[in-house]
């Protein structure tokens, strides 16, 4: 059978998938909004516990990684395979940095005894309990998406290297970068909701 190729169709598929991802997080944003409204004082107190500096650092890291992902598309369009490989590689490295930061951030909280089901947490006000529950659940789901994004970008790198992604056929790279922007975008919403509104 001749290979059916339709770049517009592929991108359309990716956009629809991104829609479903936004709705997945949308459910959580809804729950966040409802409980923030119900326990606004507790959310206020609990948010002070989060390290806004680490959050801001991770925001910068993700923004830079989104830029490198976008630049890699231009590089491949111009036929510069080596540069494209470097740029996707930097994106993956940035993702790794994000995870390292997240590890220290979570590690510190767990060290303080703030983790789901901990004795300290169960003694707190109900709103604070929910805030930290949402914090771990939302950032945890986001970390899962970071890891999936890293896997996708690794596959993309392999395909650039084998030249099945090239200056004539790069829709896979575009879709990979689209997914990465989604991961970035969700963080852009998580960061103020959890770290900044105190």
């Amino acid at each position: 059978m001749e290979e059916h190729r339709d770049d517009i169709g592929s991108r359309m598929g990716m956009w629809i998938f991104i829609f479903t991802e936004l709705l997945l997080f949308g459910g959580l944003f809804l729950v966040y909004a409802i409980y923030r409204n119900k326990y606004s004082a507790d959310f206020h107190t609990a948010a002070h516990e989060l390290n806004a500096f680490l959050g801001a650092l991770n925001t910068v890291i993700l923004l830079v990684s989104s830029a490198t992902a976008a630049m890699s598309i231009t590089a491949i369009q111009k036929g510069n395979k080596k540069l494209a490989l470097w740029l996707v590689g930097i994106t993956i490295f940035m993702a790794f940095l994000f995870l390292v930061n997240k590890y220290f951030e979570w590690g510190h909280k767990i060290h303080l005894g703030i983790y789901p089901g901990s004795e300290l947490l169960l003694k707190m006000e109900q709103g604070e309990l929910l805030f930290f529950g949402l914090y771990y659940f939302m950032t945890g789901l986001h970390v899962f998406h970071i890891i999936v994004g890293m896997i996708i970008l690794t596959v993309v790198m392999v395909k650039i290297n084998s030249e099945s992604i090239n200056s004539h056929n790069f829709v896979l790279l575009e879709n990979g970068a689209l997914y990465w922007h989604l991961v970035d975008l969700i963080w852009i919403f998580l960061f103020p909701l959890l770290y900044l509104i105190t």
Binding site: L23, G27, L122, L130
Partner: protein, 533 residues
């Protein structure tokens, strides 16, 4: 294209793969459709058997063949299997996969590999659901709705069941995504939106619901898991959570899911009726657009499942009002089907019998739905057997009968053999009678106060339950007859020919069974899809 060419059809052409691998590794949309047909039929029979066991327990008051806990497990797993594994994928995965590309003049769906991957996801979810029934701490006993806080406390296998629903939902999303892109990008030249047949139209509306509603239940089910594993109190009042919030999030998906089931069913009926009355469908645009209207309004009626759960009066009348609104496009379709038949030369064949009984049963199901959609009457019948009867009339009488209609309509095209029509008609009569004997008494005992999900009951409900159980036996007999008759035709049936019913949509122009590529040459469409000479 009118003559049967010598090239191989999709069953003969294994593309160099051997045995079962020709099926489970093929990305041909027709083979994937058959994979779904086999798996869904299997799970339908399993789910039906569980339902039959429940009817056996209910045939007489008191504990007869099982204890209460077993009964709780049965109705939960019956629900999970029938909803998530049979009726939600059902028509789209089987007939959508097989016929959508052919009906719009394409060689395959937009993403054939993703299509096969969806089937693997489906099977993974299905096996998890079966696992939850037999392994670990016992079958889940929460009902298929997994209402919190019981679902976060129950010691049974809730987690595998929840994961099963999640994975099945993911499969459903990917199928929906595939169909949307296929319909947007792969229609044959000249096939404008309003030259597209009505089954693809209904699949298009359905696909958007699958894509937009399913993620919500996905995240909700994950919150249940998080609550069980990590004590994050999303829904447990003791930890600050809100169990009513769970119900909202659950029904935000699960009400639109009803339309995922019924819209393709309506699409099938809109195909069958014109073919057997030899007349263009009446109100083509109204039928096509009412699918979109149902999909749109269907998002905003979920609260009608929760009138008695605790909601403000304003929210309740709002949801009730919208529920009545959503009945309008459904009624538009029924009127159009009936008008199509008016003054047509009706050829009463097996698919038509199923299609006509669909209209009858769907009307009973739909009108009793309005009884439940009105605030005052719902309070009286909420959580009674009346609800059970209502949704079986919609889901089984609607989607189920439509599935039976579709299999009898398209079987000759799919397998190239004609079944014994007399036996098929007898089986239809038995199924139709059995169905009504099984479910109609439940309306009556429901109004009299028989609660749903009870394994025991007061003596005054005995007659109703006994009649209902007898109906279950009749129905089961009819279904077995139907399946045996269809299976026998694979060996003994007469060759079906290209167009046994005189249909005019594109699937009746390709060879029987279709070749792998569907079309030698992609047709150019110049006319309305239902143009009878």
């Amino acid at each position: 294209m009118e003559t049967q060419k010598s090239h191989l059809n999709y069953i003969e052409d294994t593309q160099g793969r051997k045995g079962i691998f020709a099926w489970i590794l093929s990305t041909d949309h027709k083979r994937i459709g058959i994979l779904y047909l086999i798996s869904i039929t299997t799970f339908f029979l399993v789910g039906g058997l569980l339902g039959g066991l429940m009817r056996l327990e209910l045939a007489a008051p008191g504990e007869t063949v099982m204890d209460a806990q077993t009964y709780n497990g049965l109705f939960t797993v019956h629900g999970i299997i029938m909803i998530f594994m049979v009726v939600i994928p059902g028509l789209g995965a089987v007939f959508g996969n097989f016929f959508l590309p052919i009906m719009i003049g394409a060689r395959d769906v937009a993403f054939p590999k993703l299509n096969l991957f969806s089937w693997y996801l489906y099977m993974t979810g299905a096996l998890l659901a079966v696992y939850s029934q037999f392994a670990g701490t016992g079958a889940p006993d929460t009902g298929w709705t997994f209402y919190a806080p019981y679902s976060t406390d129950s010691s049974t296998n809730v987690i595998p069941a929840v994961f099963a629903a999640f994975v099945l939902g993911f499969s459903s999303i990917l199928t929906g995504l595939n169909f949307i892109v296929t319909i947007h990008r792969m229609r044959a030249p000249g096939m404008t939106w309003f030259r597209m047949p009505l089954f693809p139209w209904s699949l298009y509306a359905t696909a958007w619901i699958q894509v937009l509603a399913t993620p919500i239940v996905g995240i909700t089910l994950m919150m249940i898991v998080a609550e069980r594993w990590f004590q994050i109190g999303f829904f447990d009042p003791a930890l600050g959570g809100d169990p009513i919030l769970y119900q909202h999030l659950f029904w935000i998906y699960s009400h639109p899911a009803v339309y995922i089931m019924i819209l393709p069913a309506m699409g099938v009926i809109s195909e069958i009726i014109p073919t057997f009355v030899k007349k263009a469908v009446f109100g083509y645009k109204a039928i096509a657009l009412s699918s979109i209207a149902i999909a749109g309004v269907g998002y905003f009626v979920w609260g009608h499942h929760m009138y008695t759960s605790g909601m403000s009066g304003t929210a309740r009348w709002f949801f009730s009002f919208l529920t009545f609104i959503v009945a309008v496009p459904s009624a538009i379709k029924v009127f159009n089907w009936v008008s199509t038949m008016y003054k047509g030369s009706i050829d009463v064949r097996t698919p038509f019998l199923y299609a006509a009984s669909f209209i009858f049963l769907f009307m009973i199901g739909g009108l009793t739905g309005l009884v439940l959609g009105s605030l005052a009457s719902d309070v009286h019948v909420h959580d009674t057997a009346f609800v059970v009867a209502h949704f079986h009339y919609i889901i089984f009488g609607g989607m189920g009968f439509s599935f039976f209609a579709a299999i009898h309509y398209w079987w000759p095209k799919m397998f190239g053999k004609m079944y014994n029509e007399f036996k098929a008609n007898v089986a239809w009569l038995i199924v139709f009678i059995g169905f009504n004997v099984l479910y109609f008494p439940q309306f009556i005992i429901g109004i009299q106060g028989m609660p749903r999900r009870y394994f025991d009951y007061l003596p005054q409900f005995h007659t109703g339950h006994l009649i209902s159980s007898i109906g279950a036996a009749i129905l089961l007999t009819g279904i077995v007859m139907m399946i045996v008759n269809l299976m026998k035709s694979r060996k003994n049936g007469n060759p079906a020919g290209i167009n046994p019913w005189g249909g005019v949509t594109l699937e009746w122009t390709v060879p029987t069974p279709p070749p792998v590529e569907n079309f030698d040459e992609i047709p150019t469409i110049t006319e309305h899809p239902y143009t009878f000479d």
